[in-house]
């Protein structure tokens, strides 16, 4: 492979704290040198040099929550189509959620996903394994064997584990293996509504989901994490009270991290307007005050990571009355552009945003990603931070088109995505 040099590029790498204009020298798929003086140090002869003036290079994004329809619902999304969507969004590693059909709760299915990913995906695809068999919340899966097979963490899908005794034992057992348990802290019964509970839902005549449907399971789980010493990740929190609970847990020394979807950082319940089902999400979009508080918690670092929560749904599950539709929105292609809104508004520094979408998730998951330090794999997103564009449904690569950002105007776009030094996407 010909060595490559990306020159005159602004490098933003949270893993080293580097923020400077310089060059990136890539040899054999890895970063050979980086920074203002990189070219002087070593420019390999015959290197292919690309002038990237005005662009920002960040470590390829690591999206820790991606739902894919394969196996079981390939008409919505396959591993191959999701990986191409990811590439367009600058995402070079995706964590595939286990709530497929069949559920990824067995070593053979982890193998299946990995083989498919190796053969068909243009980005790295890491399976998450189910925490309990069939995601039923009753019997724990073979954590040891699943992790050995390549599962990166253990998740219980879209809801919390109802039975606290099961959760306690799973945490106890997972701790022995150093596994991270990642939970969507949504109570199945208390959260049986379809949107944020409050005045807006009441006027629409829709059943609401109280914020307690998220806070109560979260607080319970954190108690259990304290009891067991388990590593715990709250996958998608939506209200500031949850962030407060996370902050307190961290201050108490618990091994706890938290994530939030890009939707909850950039949208609110009023976006639902007149029953627009693409904005039906779990957890539900909350109020503007909630959103602003969550952005602050992200900037502060209490919320560790941002995920796309990419969740392809077809017309068969979305073109329905709001209360009958499925939750979920796609997001791989728009996560970074949407996140740049927070940068342009001055709410969150670019370094923190990249950290939340790349370096920190890689660190939590133990992946060889999220860094542009010499020796790291050259997974890179090249961004023009000021590029204006409009999200067009027709240009979406994802097999499903349920984007809450359809026709949205963004400033900033991924112009090129590299995996192991090879360009897999160019805008």
């Amino acid at each position: 492979m010909t060595p490559r040099v990306l020159s005159n590029v602004r490098i933003v790498d949270p893993s080293t704290g580097m923020d400077e204009v310089g060059s990136i020298v890539i040899v054999d798929g890895r970063i050979a040198a980086i920074g203002a003086g990189a070219v002087d140090v070593e420019t390999p002869s015959g290197a292919e040099v690309e002038d990237c003036a005005g662009l920002i290079a960040v470590p390829g994004l690591v999206d820790a929550c991606v739902h894919i329809g394969e196996p079981g619902a390939e008409h919505r999304e396959t591993i191959a189509s999701a990986s191409r969507a990811a590439a367009r969004g600058g995402v070079t590693s995706i964590i595939m959620m286990p709530d497929t059909d069949p559920v990824i709760d067995d070593v053979a299915l982890v193998d299946f996903v990995q083989r498919l990913a190796r053969d068909e995906a243009v980005v790295r695809v890491h399976p998450a394994a189910a925490l309990t068999k069939g995601l039923k919340g009753e019997e724990m899966t073979e954590f040891g064997l699943l992790l050995e097979a390549g599962a990166v963490w253990l998740s219980n899908g879209r809801h919390t584990v109802d039975n606290p005794a099961v959760m306690r034992r799973a945490m106890t057992y997972a701790r022995d293996f150093g596994a991270v348990i990642a939970v969507a802290t949504q109570d199945r019964r208390l959260g049986a509504g379809v949107m944020n509970e409050g005045l807006f839902a009441s006027w629409l005549g829709l059943p609401g989901i109280p914020r307690e449907a998220e806070i109560i399971p979260l607080e319970r789980d954190l108690r259990l994490a304290g009891l067991t010493g388990a590593r715990y990740h709250a996958m998608s929190i939506s209200v500031p009270q949850s962030a407060d609970v996370i902050r307190a847990a961290k201050e108490n020394g618990l091994k706890v991290t938290a994530g939030i979807s890009i939707n909850h950082l950039t949208l609110n319940e009023t976006d639902i307007g007149e029953y627009r089902t693409f904005f039906r999400l779990s957890p539900p979009l909350r109020t503007e005050d909630d959103r602003r508080a969550m952005v602050a918690a992200l900037a502060e670092g209490v919320i560790d990571i941002i995920v796309s929560a990419h969740d392809p749904q077809d017309v068969d599950t979305k073109r329905l009355p709001f209360a009958d539709a499925e939750n979920g929105a796609i997001g791989l292609e728009t996560m970074l552009a949407a996140a740049l809104r927070l940068y342009h508004s001055g709410d969150v520094e670019l370094m923190r945003l990249v950290d939340a979408m790349s370096t920190r998730p890689a660190r939590i998951l133990g992946l060889d990603a999220g860094s542009l330090a010499p020796g790291a794999r050259a997974d890179i997103a090249l961004i023009d931070p000021d590029y204006p564009w409009v999200v067009s449904k027709d240009e979406l690569i994802s097999k499903s088109k349920n984007s809450p950002f359809e026709d949205a105007r963004f400033t900033g776009k991924v112009l090129q995505t590299l995996v192991a030094g090879v360009t897999i996407h160019r805008a």
Binding site: E138, T141, G144, L145, Y173, R175, D176
Partner: protein
């Protein structure tokens, strides 16, 4: 030297001298069992009732044989399918049996503390043959006897107890006894099968066999009950065997002359590989033989003790 206890309810409360006294007498009893003529008249005329509220084949047989070799009249009561099912309380059953004037009661019950409760209501010595997840003193004694005869000593040996410690009365009695004799006790199990506070029970705690078996002189495997295998305490049999089952590779980490023990009944391919159970380091059959001897020693000690006779 005499034995200062009326009952044998547990290892707790026994001194090192008490334990050595029983082991020494058991050594004598081994000789009896190895003779052609195995019947003695030590306990002739005395009545032994085996009162098993929980099904047991081997322990009950062992106690029965021990009593018969000492010349006692042995009666087996499997209460698992009798009056208790009809609603009689434990204490009422005990009082009824007591009125029949037995000279010893051997009791197993699924509830911790049940044997001690029963012992307060009867006029004869009571031997605990296992109460819930509390104690199983004769098992610990027979394990110690097995180790002592195979290794010449118990003190300062490294003994690794592996598996379902949480539900195991065998583990608790062994931890107490081995500590009393000065052994170094380790437990190895997934955290889901360890009781809380285990680190303060006088043991070193390991979650990986690879760590805990290093340099062990004795590897004591525990039985994993079927109902605990599939997702409740451990995910599956194959995962349990992979990480906690004793196989050739794991046993190699222990000392080359390490003993392999199991209280039985074994789940081959769950907690122990078949070739290990039948291999040269296994003393599992010796444990069964020592069981009869230990129970003979305990019974004659308690039944002939001054103040214990009717």
């Amino acid at each position: 030297m005499s034995f200062p206890h009326r009952h044998l309810l547990g290892i707790k409360g026994l001194s090192e001298q008490d334990i050595l006294y029983l082991l020494d007498r058991a050594d004598e009893a081994v000789k009896i069992s190895r003779q052609r003529e195995k019947k003695t008249s030590t306990l002739r005329g005395l009545t032994q009732i085996n009162l098993f509220f929980e099904a047991s084949t081997r322990t009950q047989a062992s106690f029965e044989l021990a009593g018969k070799r000492l010349g006692a009249d042995v009666m087996n009561m499997s209460v698992a399918n009798s009056s208790v099912k009809k609603g009689e309380t434990l204490v009422d059953t005990a009082m009824t049996l007591n009125a029949m004037r037995p000279d010893v009661l051997i009791v197993r019950h699924s509830s911790a503390g049940a044997v001690a409760l029963l012992s307060q209501k009867v006029g004869c010595p009571v031997i605990n043959a296992g109460d819930g997840a509390h104690e199983h003193p004769t098992q610990a004694l027979l394990d110690a006897l097995t180790i002592r005869r195979a290794k010449g000593k118990v003190g300062r040996l490294i003994v690794a107890i592996c598996g379902d410690v949480l539900h195991s009365r065998v583990a608790r009695s062994n931890i107490l006894l081995l500590n009393a004799l000065g052994a170094r006790v380790r437990v190895i199990a997934p955290s889901t099968l360890l009781p809380s506070g285990i680190a303060d029970m006088g043991v070193e705690v390991f979650q990986r066999m690879e760590d805990g078996l290093k340099d062990a002189d004795v590897v004591m495997m525990l039985r994993l009950q079927r109902e605990r295998m599939a997702g409740s305490f451990v995910p599956s049999v194959r995962e349990y065997f992979r990480y906690f089952g004793l196989d050739v590779d794991k046993l190699r980490l222990a000392r080359p002359d390490a003993l392999v023990m199991h209280p039985g009944p074994m789940n081959r391919g769950v907690e122990i590989a078949s070739d290990i159970a039948d291999g040269p380091q296994s003393v599992i059959e010796l444990q069964v033989e020592m069981g009869v001897a230990v129970r003979m020693a305990v019974m004659e000690t308690l039944m002939l003790r001054e103040g214990n006779q009717p």
